[in-house]
Amino acid sequence: MDKDATLDARGLMCPMPIVQLAKKVKELKSGQVLELLADDIGAKEDVPAWCNRTGHQLLAMEEEGRLIRIYIKMK
């Protein structure tokens, strides 16, 4: 999937992936796509919940073994 930026949050546990995500989003513009890499299993539920609250759009979520790859479109 096309992306404008990547945030590598692998090795971080809750709540740090979400905290880093909120910081990263400030650098991006509306319509841009962010790729998030995480291996905290909680991210599978936490990132969709974060999108639901903040209004950013979750485009896709893929799993490759332990790796969770999530694409988010900025509102």
Binding site: G11, M13, P15, M16, I18, V19, A49, R53, T54
Partner: protein
């Protein structure tokens, strides 16, 4: 307007120290406005440079817990506190508890507001989520 989230913390042990910071940083990252009120034994968590201990006899193993957290990349208490402040989490000290514990405002982390139950309830009354941690 941002949704408001209020917490009251009445205990000063390690677990009660981390919980409001985890919840607070997450909520702030989700765009919420966060207010945390520290009272009774919770108040010491706002003291500059404090290192909270595990409860009771387990306090002896606080260092082990801190090492374990470092190993799995979970930030320590002071680091989380700094993170929360950076994200705009608001910290409040209960004025009565300060009197009871003999604590001065200068001993508390920068930016702490001192207030009483009424002022905090005024914030909490218009809050969507409230948690008591004690």
């Amino acid at each position: 307007m941002a949704e408001r989230f209020c917490m009251v913390v009445s205990e000063g042990t390690f677990d009660k120290a981390m919980m409001p910071l985890i919840m607070g940083t997450t909520a702030a990252s989700m765009g919420m406005e966060v207010h945390v009120f520290y009272t009774f034994f919770g108040l010491k968590l706002l003291k500059k440079g404090v290192r909270p201990k595990l409860p009771g006899l387990m306090s002896l193993f606080t260092g082990m817990m801190e090492k374990k957290m470092k190993k799995v990349n979970v930030p320590g208490y002071q680091e989380m506190l700094a993170q929360a402040k950076e994200l705009g989490v608001n910290f409040y000290a209960c004025s009565t508890s300060m009197e009871l514990m003999g604590m001065k405002k200068e001993q508390l982390i920068d930016g702490t507001k001192v207030l009483g139950a009424s002022a905090f309830l005024n914030l909490a009354a218009d809050s969507k989520v409230q948690l008591f941690i004690g």
